[in-house]
């Protein structure tokens, strides 16, 4: 910041929320007065003022939506927040609003921040400083502050770590049993981290992982390339077990003409009836009972909707005018009905919500991560008897590949392991917030005091042979998270399935039971190999037979009822059947719509 000189009075224009309101002769005096008055409580504390000497402008912002953050005010090289304040705060004599109202702490927005000189720690404060950071940790966002020992990690790893903390399965709120979110995950046995930060202490009602014993070693190459080898027995004991909740919802709508949806078990004969076997789990009211097992595509709510609105003259029998519109479990998902809620919407339609819960036990392919951007996927579940063990009989839950460390340089990951180990043996919860926490030396000393090696290394024995490993192996306790990327939500394959109406080609995407597309490059690959017949077969998905008029070269008509094929324009012309991709027929139709005449000239082969 430029040193403010009071010698020369600089004039400036004042803008309030972007609108010009006044002009002052002495800009600096105005700004200082403004701040003084705001700190004294004479002006609203939400107002921020920014001075641009080079533009000769003063901008006052009071609008909503600005990002502001609290800072301790520094005057004459001394922070206004004193030890007495802190003592009083501890005794609950004063609170945060007291500090804000008494000009000890103020909120700055991004513009005013440009005019201030902020010290990171109390030791850094000089006479030139205008503010002091509440804590150096404020340089991180919320999720980044959950990472232990962040200053020991490379910056990008913090970034990845913070991102993955957001994907972790934990307990997102304590009333989840009452909620009906579309979908959410709950961890079965969550733990608060052994190595905490200030923020994770605050967040301890919403834990997001478990403290896991980790050995840093290889296991037959199964943990190659960020794969994780997990202890099967630990999993069977409930490690990282989670529940997947999904809410299905339907309304009993009322339609014009007194017709309405009906929630019952659909009778056979109704359009779209799925067969009586499918409805066997429904209670008499047409709604499935809680704690019923429901497999993929099972009906949860039996529902019938009117097909068409009746218009006086037409006569359609009741049963013909109805269509089955039951709510089913999504394809590929299963679960147990957790709760059934029957309620009413504001416009008096009956509403039914069903929450289905599915137990998710860790399986091959599930994604896990520590808080340091070290993610991995389960590649093998090993029975406990085959896992390595220490002389005390401790068996790791996860075997983590040492190759994940050097290139990523996540030293915090290693430190957390050591601290976690210390904490688990001493029964302490260690603080690891950024910049001030017990140093590595202290953790090592604590380890030594308890009679362990201070570097966290241990002798391990091979579970399969019982032989001692030649080297000492680094073991420790890490806070691991199960991430919201489970194979059960992603696994997908198709042999037959639905097609799109327009092109008659297979649908796209897992939710629609779609096919996996053979793209342009894959197609060229087949051409490259000269596999002409394979190529044709692969694109047979929309193969159709169409009649073609040999005279006009357009698509002819085939009357199924009369079993007659004829061309509507040239009456007696010969018609040939041609096998062609439906997409091409569609393309020809579209050409016709833009007045281009695509004439087929079929010849006998």
């Amino acid at each position: 910041m430029k040193k403010q000189s009071h010698e020369k009075a600089e004039r400036a224009d004042i803008y309030l929320n972007g609108k010009y309101i006044a002009h002052v002769q002495d800009a600096l005096k105005f700004v200082n007065d403004f701040k003084k008055k705001r700190r004294a409580g004479l002006l609203p504390y939400q107002a921020n003022i920014a001075h641009y000497p080079e533009l000769r402008e003063i901008r006052i912002n009071t609008s909503h939506g600005r990002v502001r953050r609290p800072l301790i005010i520094v005057e004459n090289g001394k922070p206004k927040l004193t030890k007495e304040h802190i003592e009083k705060l501890k005794k609950n004599e004063i609170d945060w609003s007291y500090l804000v109202n008494h000009g000890i702490i103020e909120y700055l927005d991004t513009e005013e921040e440009e005019n201030s000189y902020i010290a990171l720690t109390p030791e850094d404060v000089t006479k030139e400083h205008t503010h002091l950071e509440l804590d150096p940790i404020t340089m991180f966002g919320l999720s980044a502050t959950l990472i232990p020992y962040p200053e020991y990690n490379r910056g990008d790893r913090i970034n990845y770590g913070a991102k993955m903390v957001g994907q972790a399965i934990g307990i997102m709120c304590n009333n989840f049993l009452l909620r009906t979110d579309t979908k959410f995950n709950i961890l079965a046995y969550p733990q608060i981290p052994l190595v905490t930060t200030k923020t994770s202490k605050i967040m301890q009602d919403f834990p997001e992982g478990q403290n896991i014993v980790v050995a840093v070693m290889c296991y037959d190459g199964y943990n190659l390339n960020d794969a994780i080898v997990m202890n099967k027995s630990s999993v069977e004991r409930g490690m990282f077990r989670s529940f997947y909740f999904r809410t299905y919802e339907t309304l009993k709508k009322r339609y014009w003409g007194g017709q309405e949806d009906e929630i019952t078990i659909p009778e056979p004969g109704i359009k779209g009836h799925r067969g009586e076997e499918v409805y066997k789990d429904l209670a008499e009211d047409g709604i499935i009972n809680p704690e019923t097992k429901a497999e993929s595509d099972a009906v949860l709510i039996g529902k019938i909707s009117p097909l068409r609105f009746l218009s006086g003259e037409e006569f359609i029998s009741d049963i013909e005018n109805k269509r089955e519109t039951s709510i089913t479990i999504r394809h590929g998902e299963k679960g147990i009905v957790d709760k059934v809620i029957i309620s009413e919407t504001p416009d008096a339609n009956q509403m039914i919500k069903i929450v289905v819960r599915d137990e998710r036990i860790p399986e091959l392919g599930d994604k896990f991560a520590s808080r340091h951007g070290q993610k991995g996927v389960i590649s093998l579940l090993v029975p406990q008897e085959d896992m390595p063990f220490t002389s005390d009989g401790v068996v790791p839950d996860i075997i983590f590949n040492p190759h994940a460390i050097p290139s990523r340089m996540t030293v915090g990951h290693l430190l957390e392991m050591l601290a976690g180990k210390t904490g688990s043996y001493s029964g302490q919860i260690l603080d690891s917030s950024a910049f001030h926490h017990p140093k590595e030396k202290e953790i090592r000393a604590l380890m030594k005091k308890m009679g362990f090696r201070d570097d966290g290394k241990q002798t391990l024995y091979d579970g399969r042979t019982g032989k001692k490993y030649d080297v000492l192996i680094f073991t420790g306790v890490l806070y691991y998270m199960k991430l919201d990327h489970m194979v059960a939500n992603k696994i997908h394959a198709r042999s037959r399935g639905p097609v799109t109406l327009l092109t008659k080609q297979p649908t796209e995407g897992r939710a629609k039971r779609g096919g996996l597309r053979i793209g342009e490059m894959e197609q060229q690959c087949l051409i490259g190999h000269g596999a002409a017949l394979t190529l044709k077969e692969r694109f047979d998905s929309d193969l159709t037979k169409i009649p073609i008029c040999t005279k006009c070269g357009l698509v002819a008509i085939h009357d199924v009822l009369k079993n007659k094929t004829y061309c509507p324009t040239c009456k007696d012309a010969q018609i040939v059947w041609v096998e062609i991709s439906y997409a091409f027929k569609l393309a020809m139709d579209e050409l016709k719509s833009m007045c281009v005449y695509p004439k087929m000239n079929p010849k006998e082969l």
């Binding site: 197609q523 060229q524 690959c525 051409i527 490259g528 190999h529 000269g530 596999a531 002409a532 017949l533 190529l535 044709k536 694109f539 047979d540 929309d542 193969l543 009649p547 073609i548 070269g553 094929t565 010969q574 018609i575 040939v576 059947w577 041609v578 096998e579 062609i580 991709s581 997409a583 091409f584 393309a587 050409l591 833009m594 007045c595 281009v596 005449y597 695509p598 004439k599 087929m600 000239n601 079929p602 010849k603 006998e604 082969l605």
Partner: protein, 403 residues
């Protein structure tokens, strides 16, 4: 199968050197022939696709390492993907035109080489002017000349005024180091423009050659330049016109012809790939270069070049500018014979490529039953027969609404 004459010549040379008997020589030829056969593409093998893949896979590797420049001693040349795009798009003017000038044997002396290099480098007025002053009332410009530099560049001060070719001015030398330019018109704005064009005016050397670097390349002096003008360089004494090249393909085409242009495309593409540490078989690049130059002129690979000139309407329409191609085809009444792979894939037919290119020749003797069904009305035969009717389709002149 015969080996190319070049190979046989090489084998003979080797045989002579090693004094091999005729029998042994024949054996070598046989062995090489069998090896050679292994690398020959089979009939109907889709070599175009293989070429495209062999070139584009390394090209995707290149995108990951863009903006990596490694110029040869002082001259920065466009390399990597941007250069590849330049070559295959057949840009008229490359971003950094360069020449590599080789010299005759009797010019392999550093002093002589430097003199040739000096002759090539373009010298503008601004290179020898120290400062300028403008008199707005008298309408003249005075340029203070750098006599040392002029000596270095071998410019005679007396001849300087003649070399400035700008209309409507009078030039004079004052005090042996000042060039006075008098503007004849009464136009102050024009005077400022004059100053600019005066400083930019060409004095010596070849126009457009802004940088000249002398390098030693395996016991031989080579001049590399930034900016190219082959025609003029060929006129300079001491230059070996048989080896001197530039990287501007169109310039080579103008000066040396289409064969030379083809060779330059191959050379430049190969060089760019190799410079990036990528190894592509030269035959793929050759195929591409051949394709670009078959018509006797350089065609780009893309909408206005090879892809835009394909015979099949459907293929052209499936590439770019779909509407344009369909409408034009309908106006002309074009007929698509469906001989290519892409058309047949679009229509889901067996593409005439690889295994699909062959059919049985000769007909199977017809049984009585088959004959019967054929003579009958097509109605009944529809379901069993004519599955593989070959189709050709054409577009006839119709009204087009808009477009």
């Amino acid at each position: 199968m015969m080996l190319p004459p070049k190979y046989i010549k090489e084998i003979e040379k080797y045989a002579e050197k090693k004094k091999l008997t005729e029998k042994k020589k024949q054996k070598i030829i046989e062995k090489i022939e069998s090896l050679y056969k292994r690398f020959v593409y089979d009939p109907e093998e889709p070599i175009g696709i293989v070429t495209a893949q062999s070139l584009s896979e390394p090209a995707t590797q290149m995108t990951m390492r863009t903006y990596h420049f490694a110029g040869t001693a002082g001259i920065q040349v466009t390399l990597g993907l941007p250069r590849m795009i330049e070559i295959f798009d057949a840009r008229k003017e490359p971003k950094t035109p360069t020449m590599t000038i080789y010299l005759k044997k009797d010019y392999q002396d550093i002093e002589k080489v430097k003199r040739v290099a000096e002759e090539i480098k373009e010298i503008k007025m601004k290179d020898i002017v120290l400062s300028t002053t403008i008199d707005l009332t008298e309408l003249w410009i005075k340029c203070k000349l750098d006599t040392n530099k002029m000596k270095e560049y071998n410019i005679d001060i007396e001849k300087l005024p003649k070399k400035i070719r700008i209309r409507g001015i009078e030039t004079k030398i004052e005090n042996n180091n000042i060039l006075k330019v008098v503007y004849k018109k009464d136009d102050i704005r024009g005077l400022y423009k004059l100053k600019y064009s005066l400083l930019e005016s060409h004095i010596k050397g070849i126009k457009g050659v802004s940088q000249v670097v002398v390098n030693k390349e395996q016991d031989e002096w080579v001049i590399s330049t930034l900016g190219s003008n082959l025609k003029k360089v060929f006129n300079i004494e001491g230059i070996d016109p048989t080896r001197t090249t530039c990287n501007n393909i169109f310039e080579i085409y103008d000066v040396l012809g289409i064969e030379a242009a083809r060779n330059t495309i191959v050379e430049q593409a190969k060089f760019t790939m190799e410079e990036q540490g990528l190894d592509v078989d030269i035959r793929y690049i050759m195929l591409l270069a051949d394709l670009m130059t078959v018509d006797g002129e350089i065609k780009a690979i893309g909408r206005y070049g090879i892809s835009g000139q394909k015979t099949s309407v459907l293929v052209r329409a499936s590439f770019e500018e779909t509407k344009k191609h369909f409408v034009n085809a309908s106006v002309k009444g074009e007929r698509d014979k469906l001989k290519g792979a892409i058309e047949n894939i679009m229509m889901n037919q067996v593409a005439p490529i690889g295994t699909g290119a062959f059919e049985l020749v000769g007909s199977i003797p017809k049984t009585k039953k088959a004959e019967k069904t054929k003579s009958e009305k097509p109605k009944k035969t529809e379901k069993t027969k004519s599955k593989k009717a070959k189709k050709a389709e054409s577009k006839k002149k119709t009204k087009t609404k808009k477009s």
